[in-house]
């Protein structure tokens, strides 16, 4: 696959090895993502796609290799101000549940911005965009999966990110919310936001995805056009065939 070479990649991953405890999850993964791309990371459960995503946004450290965002090492905190991250599930672990408004407002904080003043109009606008104005004062623990996911999306978008990173945003979400999330992601991509999204299937975004990266057992086995069919050994049950990813859910 050919890419324009002049632009600095938004994401540049080189020879990445990542361990969780004693288990090696990623093996020598390399990947470039250019501005404006909408990239889907696919693979079966345990293939390492969420680990790759979490390493790209600086949550997990690499044992070997490098991750750069806009040409800067991911360890530099200011570069994170340009990222919007939506975790797989709300990872909120605290025992005092925040309201939707408080959670979205956290999205305004960054490497150099540690507080906000009063009720920020951007928070109110995002709550309205995701249809949660009426529920703004409800604790997110008392919300449905779909409502909670919308809060997480609003928290990521209130930063006006140049790179949006989403980890299985459709998991456990009702069909109506899935459709509205897909429309939102499509709109952002059309505006030039670079999007990297972990999916089990392309589903509602099949028409919009510009590139698929398929992982198997921590290695990239396909990187290119979603319609491409790499030659795979059908006897190798751990390898995921991209065509399986296109129309149906991968084996659990």
């Amino acid at each position: 696959m050919s890419h324009p070479v002049a632009e600095t990649p938004v994401i540049s991953v080189r020879d990445l090895d990542v361990h969780l405890g004693s288990a090696q999850i990623l093996h020598g993964v390399s990947l470039d993502v250019r501005p404006g791309e909408l990239v889907a990371l696919l693979g079966s459960n345990g293939s390492g796609k969420s680990t790759l995503l979490r390493t790209i946004v600086g949550i997990l450290p690499a044992r070997r290799g490098t991750v750069e965002l806009w040409g800067r090492p991911v360890q530099e905190r200011p570069v994170h101000d340009r990222i919007g991250y939506v975790p797989q599930h709300s990872a909120e672990t605290g025992s005092i549940p925040a309201t939707a408004r408080e959670t979205v407002a956290i999205g305004l904080l960054g490497a150099r911005r540690w507080r906000t003043r009063g009720r920020d109009p951007r928070v109110e606008a995002l709550l309205a965009d995701v249809g949660l104005t009426e529920l703004a004062e409800r604790p997110i623990t008392q919300m449905s999966g779909g409502q909670r996911q919308r809060v997480m999306i609003a928290r990521a978008l209130v930063r006006r990110p140049e790179l949006l990173v989403l980890d299985e945003p459709f998991a456990g979400v009702d069909l109506e919310t899935q459709a509205s999330l897909a429309r939102l992601i499509t709109r952002l991509a059309a505006r030039g936001t670079t999007v990297v999204i972990v999916l089990h299937e392309l589903g509602l975004l099949a028409e919009e995805i510009t590139r698929t990266v398929v992982l198997d057992a921590g290695r990239v086995i396909h990187d290119g056009d979603p319609a491409d069919r790499p030659h795979l050994d059908p006897g190798h049950e751990h390898i995921v065939r991209p065509e399986e990813c296109l129309g149906q859910e991968l084996h659990p």
């Binding site: 946004v57 570069v79 994170h80 605290g94 309201t99």
Partner: protein
């Protein structure tokens, strides 16, 4: 002649303890909110125990350099020891080789054992630690007040002034990392704030009960309001009311102030819980009636 609460507030004996009680009541729940959020409710207890070792070390150093009074360095010693203890706990949490509850347990035992051994080396007895274990109004000095004021200003400036940052890190550390927030610095900061609060409050409620004033007002507030900021503000109000109320009450009835203050916070928690259960029962009853 009847002593009115105003007489108490303006009396020379009670003025310092009352000011410290207000400072303690307002600051302890601020730190407690973050500890509850991080599920580290027992950290304050562990630090209270370590502070005892610091008190004993302060006595020992005071005995060596012959300070007057001999326990002049007790509170600075407690401050230093609890800050070091907080940093060690945070390091253990970060490295993750030892489980957090085991690390806290070691802090508990090591703190109390170190206290009784070192106080003996300093020429005192374990009785000398009683005022620090359970609080002692009679021994509150002007120096204690100045230290408490400085600590309270630091805790409130950071705990309230940067509440959104601290909330973000304590509620979802992974998101905070992805967003570029200074996660490590915030975790260390919260542990140090807990140590400062322990030192501030131990003169009034004592090292054994200091953690209760951090945690119980937050638990009580959770029965009454929703949302992080509202919980913190309500807990601060409960903390101040119980600290002041407890101190005034013990001026009329001969009871230990630390214990009374903590029991008052528990009474507020129990009342809040009871009212919430009653509200839930009445709303579900009304719903059933409507059906």
């Amino acid at each position: 002649m009847t002593v009115t609460p105003w007489d108490l507030l303006t009396s020379d004996i009670m003025r310092y303890p009352l000011i410290i009680a207000v400072l303690m009541g307002v600051t302890a729940p601020v730190v407690g909110t973050y500890l509850v959020q991080k599920r580290l409710s027992l950290l304050g207890d562990g630090l209270g125990h370590v502070a005892l070792t610091g008190v004993a070390v302060g006595w020992l150093v005071g005995a060596w350099v012959q300070t007057t009074p001999h326990d002049l360095l007790a509170i600075p010693g407690a401050l230093l020891a609890s800050v070091i203890g907080a940093l060690v706990i945070e390091l253990v949490r970060e490295v993750g080789h030892t489980s957090r509850d085991v690390a806290l347990a070691i802090l508990f035992y090591g703190g109390i054992a170190g206290g009784v051994v070192i106080i003996q080396l300093a020429g005192g007895t374990s009785q000398s630690l009683m005022g620090y274990l359970f609080g002692s109004l009679a021994t509150v000095t002007g120096t204690d007040l100045v230290i408490a004021l400085i600590l309270a200003v630091i805790v409130l400036a950071i705990g309230v002034g940067l509440s959104q940052l601290l909330h973000a890190v304590t509620s979802d550390e992974e998101y905070a990392r992805a967003a570029g927030l200074p996660v490590r610095a915030v975790n260390i900061l919260i542990a140090v704030l807990a140590a400062l609060t322990v030192t501030l409050a131990m003169r009034i409620v004592g090292a054994l009960m200091v953690s209760a004033l951090m945690i119980v007002p937050v638990a009580a507030a959770q029965t009454m309001v929703i949302g992080f900021a509202r919980t913190m503000r309500t807990a601060m109000a409960i903390g101040v009311a119980c600290s002041l109320g407890g101190l005034v009450l013990t001026a009329y009835v001969d009871l230990p102030p630390g214990g009374v203050i903590v029991l008052l916070t528990i009474a507020v928690y129990a009342t809040g819980l009871g009212l919430r259960v009653a509200r839930g029962a009445s709303s579900s009853g009304a719903g059933a009636h409507a059906r």
